[in-house]
Amino acid sequence: MAWNLGGIVISILDRPGAMLLALWDEADHVILIDGVRSGAAPGTRHHFTVSNVTGALLPATSHGFGIAAALELAQELEKLPDRLWLRGIEMDAGCAGFTLSAAVFAAMSIFVREIEEEILALAGRSPQFRSKTASESSFFAR
């Protein structure tokens, strides 16, 4: 699922695997957002760099080909975006399915607000995006 907001594309992806490289192929700046399980407290907000998440043992499977594997492959193929920000929120291991635990729900608002501000700051630097992102900003706040 994707929305094109005049230069900013928001995509919701279902285990894209190696296709992440194709999806960001023409993007100047990518913010990749995902749930994280690192052992931190549920709701913890993470900022990663590419080197933080690569280097893991990669399963050579289609279903197990996650973000770390895609980033490693992109490095090998020189297909990383010029600017890539990795943002994550610590999930609650005790809460499966689509429901958010109380801790993650409580952190979600500020997590979304931070990303919205990052996008608006980026858009503010580019006059062609400024007017559209201002009018669309409520999308991110919902």
């Binding site: 699922m1 279902d14 285990r15 894209p16 695997g17 190696a18 296709m19 490289l21 194709a22 043992l57 990669l58 399963p59 050579a60 499977t61 289609s62 279903h63 197990g64 080909f65 594997a69 490693e72 492959l73 090998e76 193929l77 020189e78 297909k79």
Partner: protein
Amino acid sequence: MTEKRQIPIQVPVLARVEGEGTLELHMRNGVIEDLRLRIFEPPRMFEKLLEGRDYTEVPDMVARICGICPVAYQMSAVHAIENLFGVQPGPWVRDMRRVFYCGEWIQSHSLHIHLLAAPDFLGFASITELARQHADEVRRGLRLQALGNEIIRLLGARSVHPVGARIGGFHHAPARAQVDALRGKLQAALPEAEALVRWTAALNLPTEEQEFTVVSLRHPQEYPMNEGRIVSNHGLDISADQFESRFVEHQEAHSTALHCLHDGKPYLVGPLARLNLNLDRLPAPVRNLADSLGIQFPSRNMYHSIVARAIEIVVAMREAIRLLEGYVEPSTPYTSVTPRAGTGYGCTEAPRGLLWHRYDVDDAGIVRGARIVPPTSQNQARIEEDLRLSLHALGVRQGDAALRRRGEMVIRNYDPCISCATHFLDLRVRELTHA
């Protein structure tokens, strides 16, 4: 004296056959006495989930069975239900369904060739290692896979679990401009797909040959995808509604995955089976390409499956280009249907082989019974047979690592939905050196 060796391998998660696979070898004096591929697949009860549902819900529900081949599940389902309702959706729907299927073949085959199979034949552990030395080839593979996904999105709105298909046709017809743009991309990428065929044929593939039965659809004129009779290299020629008289699934105590046998024996479905049985249905340029490879098709070398997959990518790209030429938006992208009670049968060619569906529907259009026989179930017994022959040919005195490596290669070569699990085989070798 009994010697037992164990090699534990990490286990991931996969759809349809989530969990771990275990290859068990029982040897006596260096001879394989028993071999079992255990699949610990939690039953997903999809057939049961469909009971009580309206027929209109079926295409979207079955698309959820597989993230890699959802189109195949949708196509077998719509054909089965239309077969029951007596619906003829017309040439536009027929053509676009074939295009839809082309997209799935292109993306699924590209994924398997590059992510799963090629590293085996070039001595790498993963696509990332492969990319280090074969970057251009991996980039080409990703471009082709992305093109396949784009075709699926054109008609299905999204490439994973698409939602565009319905009984009677499609919910939405793509715009002419969108179709023309995609057709141009396919045309431009065709030489890359042809180069991929030559690349796979030049791989240093094992040369071992085996005797096996091949089963696929066969159409009077076309390379088979959505339509055709079920045929084999041993004279089988039946319609989809006769499938259950010659193919029987059964439960093996060692696996939760069902085994399907044809007249009581293992058989092969998938790209090599299709190609072996439908060489004369290849478009002429593709046949010329296949003939130029130095490989004798029909082939009894299972490792030629990777070449067959690449050839089918070219088939699919040429078909999509042909069918999208002169595209005209229809007045309506579907035919209205009226449900009626009875049983409908559908059989299409998923990327990894024959996919058979049967639905029992009442006169209100409610599903009362469903049965789905996926290609992995059909190939399961053949995989075990291949493992037995291949490991014996390799030499069971080989170390565990070599046996495991070859076992995984054999299994992956079938592109089963258990591909993912097979990287995580827990190989158990039990060797008896005295009677």
